[in-house]
Symmetry: C2
Subunit: 331 residues, 2 copies
């Protein structure tokens, strides 16, 4: 019999966190469905929780003490996905029906709200005790990330009707929607390992930089990615008229025929049809938007390296290595 | 110039709690709109926050120290209303458009999520410091109520397609959806005043009993209430096929023609038209459902009195008096 891996422990902790609050209503089954407990192939990559564990280990913390915060961060991510799927009208996630598509919008909103509470209770009412002031700091950091995610999502929703989006707008959106929770994952990992507030803040900065790099790479994959790897058709972000980094960068650039092609397609305010997607990709290629995006992602990684060096965090490079595996193309 | 009242202080604290987290996204304006900051006539009764203040005062706490928890409880209530309005498809609240009706479903869900984070940050990152273990206890109590509210709401959503609802089902629904937050309001008021965990738990029990009484009275008002007082047409809960206490009680009773009228109307699974509403009200009257509901509410008040006597809480009777004012007809 093989011994349990870190991944086994994490899955078991996630199951416990949900089971602890099973009240017999329909919500618990909906949560279990979304989290993929009944269907291993439908689970997320658990990237954010594994990041909590990686930082805690790097800081010399007890791995068992990192499981509750890891669960809390992962469940906040999943809560945001349940609501994002409703907000974006997405019926499929990880190859099967989304919660709202399967159980209706009302249950979908409500199950997301329940996941949110379960996440914080995993931290507040978890299996490992820690000094109360540390629990307060961790809970506050996670709520701040949660609020930043809402701010980023509000910007992303607003983008749907905008005809111009600046690089600063994009960074505010992705910084909230994606990077904030990566930052909180690193911060909680450090805090649960007993790191100082200053080190924890430095880890938050590190996580945010990695998170922005992650989002920009995700944008590149959503435009040029291999459907076999990403699970989405190539150009899918363009078809949905998403203001991804390559598009924002291209439209913010100096006037050119290629820029005008993309700007005009996005100015129509509707989804792009396949010929428009093909023309937009050709224009992005002509402008060098892919290279510009990868360069911007690399700049975030450089920022992360500078933070690590300045504050003497991630000394072993394990957190950087974690992201090198997560960022498949650029790190 | 008049000096500021407790109500002025509460409104100012709510404004501060929201302003502290203004990130420049559309969300903050949506939150301000929902909370009625720009339109005094559209604010809620702030019942739950005033309950926190009443219990804190009863327990000898510093009123200023009770403002952050009072805001947190009130904002959690408002968060649940923003999402409930989407789940129920309600376009009007307090005489004007609901958040989702005004800003769209996506922003509505997201603004509710942001309100949720703002509520907890009011507690965790508020203006008054307190021992960290007390903050943990208060945050946990509020998250537990938040989760119970989701369980109650899941039951209420499920009721929409059920043809039978037992009294126990109703109590589980209303106990979660309404009573849990009244319980947490009392618990947080006691905790912020420095009461023992045991006293705080007794206050939670007290608040839950009052909360159930409040919900049952609300059901009576939604069926027989004066539209001039309630702001809703008489019979509005029946028209929407809500499983209110009087309906649940009547359908759970012994067979009779009157019972069959109501059961048959609800078995059709659709909204009731005006003649069906009139017939259902006549049947409820014939069965004595109004008196049965008021009796059930009074039993909750008796339970509250017993808890208060057993644990020696609410010695001055101020919390009871608070509810006598809130419960207009039965207390």
């Amino acid at each position: 019999m093989r011994s349990p891996t870190a991944s086994d422990n994490l899955e078991a902790a996630l199951e416990r966190a949900v089971a602890r609050f099973d009240d017999g209503s329909a919500t618990c089954a909906q949560i279990r469905y979304h989290l993929g407990f009944e269907d291993e192939a439908r689970r997320g990559k658990r990237l954010r929780s594994r990041l909590v564990l990686a930082v805690a280990e790097e800081e010399g913390g007890d791995p068992a003490a990192a499981l509750d915060p890891a669960c809390a961060v992962e469940i906040i991510h999943e809560f945001s996905l349940v609501h994002d799927d409703i907000e974006d009208g997405d019926r499929l996630r990880r190859g099967r029906e989304t919660v709202w598509s399967r159980f209706g919008v009302a249950h979908g909103i409500n199950a997301g709200d329940a996941l949110c509470a379960v996440a914080y209770l995993a931290l507040l009412d978890g299996t490992v005790t820690r000094p109360a002031d540390r629990t307060v700091a961790m809970t506050r950091a996670l709520h701040e990330a949660h609020l930043a995610m809402c701010g980023g999502q509000a910007r992303d929703i607003a983008f749907e009707t905008q005809t111009r989006v600046s690089i600063d707008d994009y960074r505010a959106m992705a910084g909230g929607k994606t990077a904030a929770l990566f930052g909180a994952a690193c911060e909680l990992g450090a805090l649960c390992a007993g790191a100082s507030d200053e080190r924890a803040r430095a880890y938050r900065h590190l996580g945010r930089a990695y998170g922005l790099a992650f989002q920009i790479e995700d944008d590149v994959l959503g435009t040029w990615g291999d459907p076999g790897t990403t699970g989405k058709p190539s150009g899918s972000d363009l078809a949905r008229r998403k203001w991804t980094f390559p598009v924002v960068w291209a439209v913010a650039g100096p006037p050119s025929a290629a820029r005008e092609t993309i700007a005009a397609a996005y100015a129509r305010g509707a989804a792009l049809d396949p010929p428009a997607v093909a023309a937009a990709i050709a224009s992005l290629d002509a402008l060098g938007a892919r290279e510009a995006a990868l360069e911007a992602a690399r700049a975030e990684l450089d920022d992360a390296d500078a933070v690590a060096a300045t504050f003497g965090i991630d000394r072993s490079g394990a957190v950087r290595a974690f992201f090198q595996r997560a960022l498949r193309r650029i790190a």
